[in-house]
Symmetry: D2
Subunit: 286 residues, 4 copies
């Protein structure tokens, strides 16, 4: 039969790791969700069940925990360290990807060892093969809303178009952003993340928006403009619609005050902003 194995990969998804660093004055916690993915010469296990080239996903999980014993540090570094390990030490594995979500915690003032979960998730992905390595940082679940400064009009109208033009609407979205670094050279990843996140928020807030696409582009451009080492950013912005409620049946106007926050359907705007001289993406987006 002329049927063959194509691209394939495997790994351990969602290993939940919490590391505690017990400083003399205060503890810190690192709360992670780690997904490892490996690819390489894995034909045998697919065709015959010969697993001699398969590093068990259970081992991948163990490796995540064992590496955490030495400290996690920034998630970009931890992801890269893990990804390189898998490629360097497993004969069949020629590519590895490690994706990490880091959950945010605030300190509770009363002690040095108490924390409360905060909103928003920081992410990092490291990919590597025998030749190179790539790091993509990001944020997800960053839900933002402008109560004004957003319009949408002048759009293409066809026979199925009933949407009225909007001169002042609520604009709300849940930002997923992924930005690719030029290199994996050591740097202050935490500061890099904080800066990018801040620029995302600020650009969302201070851009007078004629479309969510325009806001997306402004956010992406702002992030790149603020850090030379960033080559490219990908943004996924669901348009979380807030519809003005018609109160006329009750003898009331509604001057932009009372809204229905809808679930589905929702607009979904996706786009990339990049430097013209960005280096080749390699496996960054694998």
């Amino acid at each position: 039969m002329d049927i063959e194995l194509g691209e394939n990969q495997y790994g351990k998804a969602e290993t939940r790791l919490v590391r505690v660093d017990r400083g003399a004055d205060a503890h810190t916690i690192t709360d992670l969700n780690v997904t490892t993915t490996l690819a390489g010469e894995l034909t045998a296990t697919h065709l015959t069940g010969d697993n001699s080239g398969v590093l068990p996903t259970d081992t991948q999980k163990n490796t995540v925990y064992a590496f955490a014993r030495d400290g996690v540090g920034e998630i970009e570094d931890f992801a890269l360290r893990l990804a390189r390990h898998f490629v360097d030490t497993t004969p069949t594995i020629t590519r590895a990807r490690v994706r990490i979500e880091q959950y945010a915690w605030d300190r509770i003032a009363a002690t040095g060892h108490s924390f409360a979960r905060a909103a928003g998730t920081r992410t990092a992905t490291a990919c590597c093969d025998g030749d190179g390595a790539w790091i993509v940082s990001g944020v997800s679940d960053l839900v933002v809303l402008n109560t004004t400064g957003s319009e949408f009009h002048g759009f293409h109208v066809d026979e199925y178009t009933t949407l009225p033009e909007a001169r002042d609407r609520i604009l709300a979205t849940a930002v997923t952003a992924l930005w690719r670094h030029r290199s994996t050279d050591a740097r202050d990843w935490a500061a890099s993340f904080a800066g990018a996140r801040e620029r995302l928020l600020t650009a969302f807030a201070d851009t007078h928006s004629l479309s969510l696409q325009q806001t997306l582009h402004a956010m992406g451009e702002r992030v790149l403009a603020g850090a030379d080492d960033l080559a490219e950013i990908r943004l996924t912005l669901p348009n979380k619609h807030h519809f003005l409620v018609d109160l006329a049946p009750f003898g009331m106007d509604n001057p932009g005050e009372v809204f229905f926050a809808a679930d589905r359907p929702y607009g979904l705007i996706e786009g990339t902003v990049r430097r013209a001289d960005a280096p080749d993406a390699g496996l960054a987006w694998w």
Copy 2:
């Protein structure tokens, strides 16, 4: 047939309301999820489909939006205003309950009209009948963690017990708390909520815990002790287990540093703390 209709109720669940107040200097947003529930003389619709006593759930939704036109204010007031309306104006309805979840938003500094979602949910429930009214305030999705200061030992041991005693463990939970007010008299509900939430956090953090039950009681007692108008508090605390990973197979110790955060199963601790002289709860917990 000797089969009869028993207790019954109906309403509109999860009406998503966002209200914008457009101040000269800055906007504010109130982001709510409102569930209305009515009960009374509703036998006819159940037995014969005679709906003359049924206020449609669609009307309940409309009422939520229409009432928001005049301003929402604190959710305790808004819930009570709605609950009273349904009882006062619908002939068949003798009881109403309005439950509100309020989602937290932080300001984005760049403008007066930009916001980012924060963690944690504030809740309020108002119940009323022809005689009285009751208000319960609360918080949900308040996820907290102590990296130390928690022990668990000296427990009852039977033939199925394998749990080792713990002298220093992570204690983590997602707090759902509901506190009943002595009366519905007007007050600064926002300050009341902020105080109760702060006391929950502080008591969680500074209680040296020998069991999650002890922490629960300390949290409840702290909330009540800080506000005379609170009669009772109910706490639901899932024990979000964090298990120390055994790194011995890799030649490593693990001195309280590397943990696996488990999903299921989880402990579930529920308890009530109240004042001995608390007034009758009436319909508060309906």
Copy 3:
């Protein structure tokens, strides 16, 4: 301080148990989610952290697994066996509740050991104390829809009512039903469940509905009428609204063909149907 401990309970939630019975001809699987809850004399752990009366939730989980070694049988029996064990063997525990969800699987024809998940969940809860025991069986996630045979009109109209009368609408709901047995005497629980589920489906389908309340009552009555040992049934029926889409802007009519299935808000209809001579419910609904 006049602050005291009130009602309290604790347990292990969502212990995921899969039991395989390896028959000579074919295997069977029992796929359960078990939640145990205990109450009794637990003041010490709340006030002082003295855990000598606390059977660890970890032990409760172990007990679930250990009891499964002898076979699970019907979930009503398994829940009761566990609940009685906790009350009988733990000195401080005076009440126990065991709630079980059982997930449905169909056989894949090719072998005697292969299965595919089916829709719908069967549930059972056993409660007991030193005096008695109670069993409630049920179903959840049973999503049903009628494309016709549903009307809603003649309802109470107030100033906030805009809903048009409906003479032919889609009626859809996700049934959660809990029926209380008169006794815990041994019986064919599987047949009892299958009969109740079938009557729920049939009554939903063949009742010409003037309100979801009427349908609820018809479903409850049908279940009770079909089995003398059932004393009471509680139904929770979200009204999953399907709105006819207005196609007039596109020059089209819409004779009951094209609908928008909405998420939120939704109606929520809850009611109880019972026999006039039902025995006291005791702890059945604890």
Copy 4:
């Protein structure tokens, strides 16, 4: 600034459409979740907010509903019809993708108009540009389990490997499969889907598995072998681990009977199987 717009796309996600066909003898329902995605010359809206080339996502939703008025038919046909419409009628749009999930319903025997939701979701995606069109069909949420016939041993062992070899384990997964058709020529899509789904189930069941990868390949090969028009299949198989519970502390053995069904982490096996002579995939996987 040398920052430029890269790839971008937008659309309406999760338009929930239910269509009723009212036959003389019995009704049928088609329950869909439709996501439309468009790409083309959209630079202006990103850079300046000039929306003259933007077909509103609201219009895309309207189009889904309007097209449903003429009948939906098989989801492959409906997706293609919509995708072609967007490319053919919107001047700026050069590519369109329409993804549809179809939820399964069984008939309730009592009437011709009553239905109960069944498990599993059928999917179809049509992509087109000015030159061609591609259709990918699939299934998701197909949860399957073998109680025996699965081994895992002979794997690569490194210093972090602790997994014991398994000679008889439970194998469970939630199948997501996407199969690409050679062409978009008209055919009996429902029969094609039913056949592919059946072959997936049968291959999962009757393959004696030495690794989930081997099972994946067997499933993919079986699907392709059974239908000449299928060029390629992509499978995503989470390994839903079922761990044998250690009952030794309770003096019991556990001969493959009592299992803990774990949530996270889970293995994740992904692979492609294709015909050597498969035509170019074009935009099929866009």
